[in-house]
């Protein structure tokens, strides 16, 4: 293990020297709904966003922790949603890139809301608005969804949509970032009496900055 850490410390700067890397904090704010409109939460938190670009490949890693508070009387307890969103991207043509990744969202306390994990597959379109200003639109499906409380989704029942912007500042050394992500799981549960809809939906906005090197 010690050798592995040493190798990473030595090789990482060399590996990064030929790539574009950015990392920085973000402020996250979200809207979470589950099962029915009665379970409605809103909250804010913090996150970290890291990006890596190498040739036609790029990767985004988003970590966020949002403290959701009930917005309706039916929802009684706060909970924290910690989410990991990893996406690997390959440039295809024009503005289009293909995306593959996974999300994992854990709730704490565990049974106040559904923890979820899924593989994401989609596409992204990027466009340069002007010097140093880029925006992107992405969308895709969430496959293999697993929920802490059980339940399933159909093949097209879980999907996501996103919008992003980065603005270069200080000659590209600092990036101002803004991301919006929408997820919907058309989850269904079956307690023996037949399938019951128990959808999950989250809108998450993140605004922050990143250091590029």
């Amino acid at each position: 293990m010690r050798w592995l850490v040493c190798a990473v410390i030595v090789l990482l700067p060399v590996a990064l020297s030929a790539q574009h890397v950015s990392i920085g904090p973000q402020v996250a704010f979200g809207d979470y709904r589950e099962v029915s409109s009665d379970l409605h939460y809103r909250g804010a938190g913090a996150g970290v966003k890291a990006t890596l670009t190498w040739k036609k490949f790029s990767a985004d890693v988003d970590l966020s922790k949002v403290k959701y508070k009930p917005q309706t009387s039916a929802a009684t307890a706060d909970f924290d949603a910690s989410e990991v969103d990893v996406r690997l991207r390959y440039y295809v043509t024009g503005p289009v890139s293909a995306e593959l990744g996974f999300i994992n969202r854990k709730m704490k306390p565990e049974f106040e809301a559904q923890s979820v994990g899924a593989v994401t597959l989609g596409a992204r379109m990027a466009y340069v608005l002007g010097p140093g200003v880029r925006m992107s639109l992405n969308g895709g499906l969430l496959f293999g969804s697993k929920f802490s409380g059980g339940g399933t989704t159909s093949a097209l029942g879980a999907l996501q949509l996103g919008l992003g912007i980065t603005v270069d500042a200080l000659h590209g050394r600092v990036l101002v970032t803004g991301d919006y992500g929408f997820q919907r799981f058309s989850r269904k549960t079956d307690d023996g009496s037949g399938a019951l809809p128990a959808p999950i939906q989250q809108s998450l906005g993140r605004v922050g900055f990143a250091i590029a090197f």
Partner: protein, 345 residues
């Protein structure tokens, strides 16, 4: 006095001051000229013959014979006049009479004299500069009788080298490339262009000294641009456009509309707060980018044009480099005729 005598005397009267300015030192010859000027032909003949028996310079001897020629012409003794003019031409082959100032009788006697003797006259070598092997030296002369004429160059380390051999009469023009038999340029130095004319037992030679010098051939400068062609800017600022704003609206609209459309019906109306904040930021950025001066974009046509221009200049410079390499191996020949010491014989 007869009219012809006056015509005959006129040129000498006019030429008298000029003759006096020459170096006629012999007193007898001066008396002969004086007698001729006074139209006393018998005295002129006697005194001129007497002067020829004295010690004279070549110039004085030629003047004495010329005086005899004019006097005999004036006395209508054409044969004797021709003989006298022959001697003049033999002594000074380049001698010519001014047709405007000489009597027809004397002129015709002089022309007859020229045809009866073999001389090479008016040998001229052009002063030229050229690159060895790419130019010629012009050589001209006049031969007075049909004869075998050999032109050669002698001197320096060359020895003697034949340039031309021909049977000619009258004016001859030769174009000499100034090359050795092996093709090399003639080495630098002082030479004589010698023209030998032969007819029967008669021979005549005339020569013209020349100086040949060698120099380096000028090389061509390399090009940094082609005349009439200038590089074009490789970037150009596109005109302002509402495209950034439009695309920002489209992207944001798709995201917000998609959120609304994909929202599950059981969960109530979808929250637009998060998408609205980010979408609003994007629309604001698009609006700013629309107002902002667009960034310069690569002008592909100009880049291609500049590339072709650079290629063309590089190709031309390669040709110039090759040409300069060739020129550095060449020799610039300079041929200059030198003052002649004397006539032919």
């Amino acid at each position: 006095m007869r009219r012809s005598t006056w015509l005959l005397a006129l040129p000498l009267l006019c030429a008298a001051p000029a003759l006096a300015a020459q170096t006629v030192q012999n007193a007898t010859l001066r008396r002969a000229q004086q007698a001729f000027d006074n139209l006393d032909y018998r005295q002129a003949l006697t005194t001129a013959h007497a002067s020829l028996r004295e010690r004279l310079t070549g110039f004085e001897r030629a003047r004495a014979y010329e005086l005899l020629g004019f006097t005999y012409s004036g006395m209508d003794s054409i044969l004797k006049a021709v003989d006298a003019f022959k001697q003049v031409v033999l002594i000074e082959p380049e001698r010519d009479l001014d047709p405007n100032r000489t009597s027809p009788k004397a002129l015709s006697a002089f022309q007859v004299a020229l045809t009866q003797i073999l001389v090479i006259r008016q040998l001229r070598v052009d002063s030229v500069n050229f690159i060895g092997g790419q130019g010629v030296v012009g050589i001209r002369y006049t031969v007075t009788q049909p004869s075998r004429v050999v032109t050669r160059i002698s001197g320096g380390t060359l020895g003697s080298m034949r340039i031309d051999s021909t049977v000619a009469n009258g004016q001859v023009n030769i174009r000499w490339p100034a090359r050795m038999p092996n093709g090399d340029p003639v080495p630098a130095g002082n030479y004589n262009v010698v023209v030998d004319a032969t007819v029967g037992q008669n021979t005549f030679s005339a020569s013209q000294p020349i100086r040949i010098t060698h120099g380096a051939v000028d090389t061509l400068p390399h090009l940094t641009s082609l005349p009439g062609y200038t590089y074009l800017p490789e970037t150009e600022v596109p005109p302002k456009s509402w495209r950034p704003m439009g695309l920002a609206l489209v992207y944001s609209g798709i995201a917000l509309a998609g959120t609304s459309a994909l929202s599950h019906g059981d969960l109530g109306s979808a929250s637009m707060r998060e998408g609205g904040v980010i979408g609003g930021g994007i629309v604001l950025a698009g609006f700013i980018m629309t107002l902002k001066k667009p960034a310069p974009q690569p002008a592909r046509g100009n880049i291609l044009y500049n590339s072709l221009l650079r290629e063309q200049i590089a190709r031309r410079n390669t040709e110039i480099a090759q040409e300069n390499t060739r020129r550095r191996q060449q020799v610039a020949l300079s041929v200059v005729p030198l003052p002649r010491a004397g006539g032919g014989r």
